[in-house]
Symmetry: C2
Subunit: 431 residues, 2 copies
């Protein structure tokens, strides 16, 4: 049982959150018109940082894990949103095949897959789990972290279709396939040129996707949105820069990196002065095509990226599934001012279609406010949001939890919109 928390950040709402609440009808109207022009991804999660003076997305995941960390009291909200997403996808759909990540020994991850399958079954689909892992060569019953069982079957390619073949359960041929695998290891041949609809499309995977392209789309989204509610876009937007052609082992690209770090720190310093913020600016250096919190570094000075020791260079040079890092994004660090019993707490917001279905805090006792929580082998404690993000109480106390969560939902949806635009722009790169 996940404990309920009102919000990690207590105290009155900040000016920014207040502004969003006041502009709620305009904001919702604006989102409605945006979703007429852009198609929301089937699902997504967005990592936020709340520094009080600033509330920003730092990562948008198009293959979200962690559905099991959402507040079960709001399961019906996920089911309703899944129903809508499925109706838009293809109302004729009967069956859905889910392709999970290959790490079948991570029982926490398996718990997420079980929850995702549960939501989609409740939305009225027949759902089965098909693995592309070379280790899964026969139907295999795995145990999840909470002791549930999950049947994972090997996928079989028949012509241009991926199917399951199982004498006991019967064969399974679905018109659509839901990827919960971010393709960090590249797009397997098995998934190329399929007749079936892949959700999300292959170019949403890390083979094609770049964080910098996402945040470039986010810049444009924010330009319009910040005009709508008359705020400085920086309050919702982390600065970023990129360096291509980095080789941490060969130590090439270090000059570019140091220069970009220096430039970004200076830009942040100007803003900090403008807003009277006393903290030291910092930036995060991370792989432009990466995930899972690997290959991430917190940097407070250009010197920090010079003369890296072997250990750091090793850490930075490889992300998940051995993917080499050659492009990095340098992103403005946003302080995490939310905490629970002195432990840092970072909100993650989940969406299906363009609806916010919930979220949770990653709570980590052993980390500082300027470090990244989504680290390898992270032992965070998930704390589900107590209320939904769609029930602000505009007449209520300004520090009411639902009001804070409304702001989270808005920023998460802005990042979702950026992801929608990003996927339109990269569609031609679809493999």
């Amino acid at each position: 049982m996940v404990p309920h928390l009102t919000t990690a950040l207590t105290g009155p709402l900040h000016e920014l959150e207040r502004r969003m609440l006041a502009a709620m009808p305009q904001i919702e109207h604006w989102f409605r018109s945006q979703w007429l022009e852009h198609t929301a991804p089937f699902y997504a999660s967005v990592d936020l940082r709340n520094a009080g003076f600033k509330l920003a997305p730092v990562d948008t995941n198009l293959f979200p894990g962690g559905f099991n960390n959402l507040n079960r009291d709001f399961l019906s909200l996920s089911i309703q949103a899944a129903t809508i997403a499925v109706e838009k996808l293809c109302p004729e759909i009967h069956r859905l095949l889910i392709i999970p990540e290959n790490h079948t020994r991570n029982t926490y991850y398996l718990r997420n897959v079980a929850e995702l399958a549960h939501i989609l079954r409740q939305a009225g689909l027949e759902v089965r789990i098909g693995s592309i892992s070379p280790e899964i060569i026969a139907p295999t019953t795995l145990e999840t972290q909470e002791g549930q069982t999950l049947l994972v079957e090997p996928v079989v390619r028949r012509g241009n279709r991926l199917v399951l073949e199982n004498e006991t359960l019967g064969n399974f041929d679905s018109c659509a396939i839901l990827l919960n695998n971010d393709l960090s290891g590249g797009v397997p041949e098995l998934l190329k040129n399929l007749e079936q609809t892949l959700i999300p499309p292959l170019h949403a995977g890390w083979t094609t996707r770049r964080k910098s392209q996402h945040f470039s789309a986010y810049n444009r989204v924010l330009e319009e949105f910040s005009r709508l509610i008359s705020i400085d876009p920086w309050l919702l937007n982390p600065y970023f820069a990129t360096c291509g052609e980095i080789d941490f082992h060969a130590r090439t690209g270090e000059d570019c990196l140091a220069a970009q770090v220096a430039g970004l720190l200076e830009k942040i310093r100007v803003k900090y002065t403008e807003y009277g913020i006393k903290q030291d600016p910092f930036v995060i250096v991370k792989a432009d095509a990466g995930t899972y919190g690997m290959g991430i570094m917190t940097v407070k000075s250009p010197e920090d990226v010079r003369d890296l020791n072997r250990k750091t260079r090793n850490k930075m040079s490889v992300v998940k599934e051995g993917l080499q890092v050659t492009e990095v994004i340098i992103q403005e660090g946003v302080y995490t001012f939310e905490n629970i019993n002195d432990a840092v707490a970072e909100p993650v917001v989940y969406m299906m279609d363009h609806y916010v279905i919930g979220g949770f805090y990653r709570v980590h006792t052993g980390r500082a406010v300027d470090e990244n929580l989504n680290a390898p082998g992270m032992h965070f404690v998930p704390l589900a949001f107590e209320t939904s993000c769609s029930t602000p109480d505009r007449a209520g106390a300004p520090d009411a939890a639902p009001n804070r969560f409304y702001a989270y939902g808005v920023v998460a949806r802005l990042a979702l919109l950026a992801a929608a635009i990003e996927l339109e722009e990269t569609e031609s790169l679809n493999t």
Copy 2:
């Protein structure tokens, strides 16, 4: 605070509910295809009767009150569904005018209007309440049953638009108007030939609507649905017959009524024998164009409708707002086998667009299992459903509450589909 009840009816699920659970993927797929062909009303509530062996809708309300009786824990579900309904209606919408019933002294009803306005505001609309009551001649602040205040303003017709004119708050001109007024007293001139979209349309009001037309559409819906899950349609469908040209005062039409009652009782008796049901069949006689539980009679023999005393004739001859009853529907009575502490409990299910958003039980201690709870001046106790209707636990115990509620949600949606078809068929009658 409404107490939470798991379900009024404890004990194992009946065969019927079990059948629906097993067929869930087929049922949801079928509904998806139906909603491609038919447009769901913006909102609706359906009164159900659960006799254990039979689960049937007995009334479908297209101007639902009672939103305040839903479980507040699922408010976000209503908001999400309202968002969807609004997007379908007109994504460009900013403002919505709600026209409530005229009985502004019913504080329970006002509580419903406040809740409905709250849901729509949370969906991101600017909402104001415009009254067509002749008693509201200036902006009036009314107090609801729970002590909230509700500002009701008189509507003004400007050309073919209904607007609010208010120097303090500013004028209000909305592209759509939501009726929460069932037009029992006829369609006021004020509402005719408006440029604005009326939701639901005027022909959903009782000036045009007939219960018999609704249940005729329901018959057709059930014919298809019962084939889909291989059941006797009678298990979800109350028999009915009609009599036109009744005049309770002049005692004309009594022969027709007695004959229809006799015929219907006989048909029910055959079914009761087939299923080994020991109870006495009964029918409900009610106005074909009526609501609010007025003009309703429980009948167990044709003799019951002959030689009615003056009191009963008076009761039967007039429904809400003095509307004369000339057409009646004779509907198979369905026993209410759900009860809470010996009080009869009848489920009501609420929907927005085609999504079930919740429900509650009408609990009435002073009534028998074959009487109607929705009576004038009813003093029912609303008991919100503890769980949503979309979270069945197919692996769970067969008597798990969510499983029962799933069946309720299915039958309510079948009635909703019938209402959609009914409104298509009566569209040409739009005044």
